[in-house]
Every structure is written in C-alpha cells, then in structure tokens.
Symmetry: C2
C-alpha cells in the first residue's frame, strides 16, 4: 500500500488508483491539482447530457469531454486512463446504483463518452488560503449536501433537482467567500443561495441528503453552492440504461492546476 | 433656472452649481460621471484625516486630495472649483453643524485641503445595469443609513463609528450584488455585512439614522455597504475647530467616468 504522503502530483494519485493502492477518498491529496467529478454515458445519451451541462453550468462545469470510446481525457490529463484512474466508481443501471468497483476496464465500451466536471475542492483550497473557515474540513468530515426544490434546466431526457453543498459562514466571511469563489466559475463558482434554506426547499439544515451534518452557529449564515453531485441525482431521475460515475469523495485527478482555473 | 435635463456632463452640473442654478440633490444627473463626497479641513487636521482615510478605505475611498489652498481637484476635475461647484455645503464648527451655504468662497482659506471621496451612486448605476433592484431608487427616496457599533480604525484625532447604507435584496441578488460592487473598490466596494443587523448594532432596520426608511421583505436580506456619510459622523466625534463637507445627497461631480473605476 502506497502511503498517501507520497502522492504529490495528480499523476502520482492516478497511478496509485491504477495499481489498486488507492481506493478511498481523495480530499487533501496532491495539493494544487484540480480534482473532478466524472460521468460516463453511452454516446446515445451523451448529447442530451452535454446539453444538460451547457444549460446548467453551475452544478455541471465541464473541464473536459472525451471522444466516444476514448478513455483518455486529452484536455485535462493526457496520461490518464479513466477506466482505472479513479479510486472508486459507481455503476448505474436504469437509474439504480448497482455496484461500486475500483476498476471499470471490463465494463468499458467503445461508445462511452466521459464528462470531467469541476469539483468544489478547488475553491475550498482558495477559501482556506484566503483565511476563510471551511467547517467540514475543520471537523474532518464530508461536506453536507442537500437536494433542493430548484429544478435544473432540462435537456433532452435529463432533468432533476439542483443539489447544493453548504458551508456555514459569518456575514463578513460569506461576502468574502462570494468574492473568492466567483473567481472559479469552472468549479461551481459563486454561491447560488445564502441565508434562507427554506426558500430552496431545505426544511432541516442539520439533515443533509448526502455527506455529513455540520453545525450552523447563531451568528452564521448557511451558504449554498451548486454541487457536482447534481449529475448523480439527475441520473437517478432520468434513468439511462447504463452510466458510470465516480463514488462521492473519490475524485478523478486532472493535471489542471487549481490556480489555472481562476478568472479576474 | 437651468433645467436639470440639460445637465449631461459633469462640467454642466458644476457650472449650474457655480451659477447658483442647482442647489439640491444630484441623484440621476449627468449619468456615467462619478459623483463624490467632499471633506474640507485645515492643513493642521488634514494629515490625521488622510491617515483616517488610508486606514478606513471602505467608508472613505479617496478619489482625489488637493494641495493646501488649491480649490481645484486636479486629478479628478481639472476645471472645477470646489468653492462653488457643489450644490450645497455643510459648515462644521467644533463638530457642530452651523450652516448650509451654496457657496463657500467667502469661507475659503489658503490652508484648506479637500478630500474627494467615492460615492455609492457609482455602484448603484452598475447594480441597475446588472438588473438588480435598488429599493430607494424605485421608491424615489434617499438610501437608508445607519450608525453601527463598528468603530472605524482611529487615526490621530479622528475616530468614530462606521456608517452603513442598506439595500434589501433576495439571496441570489445579494450574491450578485457582492460580485458587481466588488468591482468598484474606489466607491465603497463590496458590502461589509448582510443578514444580521443586530450583529453590527442596528436594533431597528426600519429606523435609519440618516436618509429614508425602505421596507425589507420576508424573503430578503438587508445588505450593508460602508457609507460616505461616515466622515460626517467622524467630524461630529472628533470636533475639529472648522470643517466643510457637502450636504448629503448634494454631491460633487468629478470628470471620472463610473466605468473607469472598475477593477477585474
């Protein structure tokens, strides 16, 4: 078992996955490299999903899209193999989660299109560098995520609810967080909501639909960002016959640097 | 009386003031030109005030500072005369408001230093262009302003409370307003607070200390920006023997274009 301390570059992490030495969460590994959400669909469904991402850039900011059958995301990690280089995958059949393998080589088809989607880990690094607290990192748990009553813009057969992640912040820190994360539009960008969870259909801020609960102080606002788990909620709603994603928290490492994803 | 409809440039507005044809509020005149707050102090007090502005750039963003005795703000309006070109002034003796003349030529001294300070009118124009509502403009009244319990950073003999202006916005609009106004650091920039008025010492959001009340909807957050009225609260606290400011709402017109004050 390779120590995660040796995983200093994105390529290191990908090789550890490829060799079966890394099968769990990737938070904190190879700092500075942009981690990504992954959605793999047959070509027949890929056009609708590409349209869905275009119509919903906040939850689904595309970093890369492969040619059908090509397991290499050539614009984000030229040495990668998407069949082996993710710690853990999720297999979806007719919208149902059926398996969580660590390698999908046996499942690969020459009509598979892979979508590499920006991840909030990138802007969390920027928040921490700016001196902003990130509660779930402080507590060593997963970020709380909620299905909202906000519908994504439908595209072809894809439709479903926006999923958001939540980070509690004081008002001044919330303002600063808007500024910091606005500079990262390709990894969800600015928050989509703050202050009134019930306005977006969240009835209990302490009962997330995914991830872990974190407390919100009386002097804090819950701040919500569009979340890369949205595509998984959408797959469950649209029920394509076959799809593969990463397992939440077990992200794909691109060679893109976090700092290369800023604007402004 | 010149019709305000003819006042299309900053120079037009200044000349109308100089000729006694404009003695009231300047909101909406000569669109596109940056209006400004004005503070005039004897040289003996100017150093402390310059330090105060440096230490408190959000309420006191300096657009220009004149040489002692020079009534021309040479970096912001080369043809202006600060003794005549403001619609209405306020005269302060020992921290007390004593007069509101429309011309200060007779009061001018060769040791007067003038501070030209950015005004929120500039970022309100940007908000409106971005499709964001500005409640007090919709209602045709003055912006509500509040003294807070947040102390400005003291400098020499100057000290006092931060004064903030308030605009109610829905959460999504508040996020967008942070983005839009962050691009205007020289006219107060991003908000300083949102959501919890009591955290900054405001006990009744419907009772402003200056300006007019505007309603805050149940689905809205009160959003607070540092305000150019702060220097007047500071003059009342520090009590210099003599000072002159503009009268609130009756601003000085610079030749600077609003669009020239953006960053990012």
């Amino acid at each position: 078992m390779t120590s995660s301390h040796n995983l200093t570059t994105a390529a290191d992490v990908r090789l550890a996955c490829r060799h079966g030495e890394l099968t769990g969460q990737t938070s904190g590994l190879a700092p500075g490299y942009a981690q990504a959400n992954l959605v793999i669909l047959p070509r027949d469904w890929a056009y609708d999903f590409l349209g869905f991402c275009r119509a919903n850039p906040k939850p689904c900011p595309l970093l890369d899209v492969t040619e059908p059958g090509d397991p290499v995301p050539r614009n984000s990690a030229q040495d990668a193999d998407l069949r082996t280089d993710v710690p853990k995958y999720r297999v979806w059949v007719d919208g149902e989660l059926t398996d969580e393998p660590t390698d999908i080589t046996d499942l690969w088809r020459d009509d598979f299109v892979s979508f590499v989607i920006g991840c909030s880990f990138t802007f969390e690094t920027a928040m921490l560098r700016a001196g902003l607290p990130v509660r779930h990192i402080e507590r060593g748990c997963n970020v709380p995520m909620f299905r909202t009553n906000v519908a994504c813009h439908p595209s072809g057969r894809f439709h479903g609810p926006l999923v958001v992640s939540m980070r509690p912040l004081t008002p001044a820190d919330a303002i600063r967080a808007v500024q910091v994360t606005s500079r990262y539009p390709s990894v969800h960008g600015a928050p989509v909501h703050l202050g009134f969870p019930e306005q977006i259909g969240i009835t209990d801020i302490h009962k997330p639909d995914y991830g872990d609960m974190v407390p919100v102080g009386d002097n804090e606002l819950p701040v919500f960002w569009a979340c890369g788990v949205t595509p998984q909620a959408v797959l469950m709603a649209a029920k394509p016959p076959f799809a593969i994603t990463h397992s939440p928290g077990c992200m794909f490492f691109t060679d893109l640097k976090d700092d290369a994803l800023t604007v402004g």
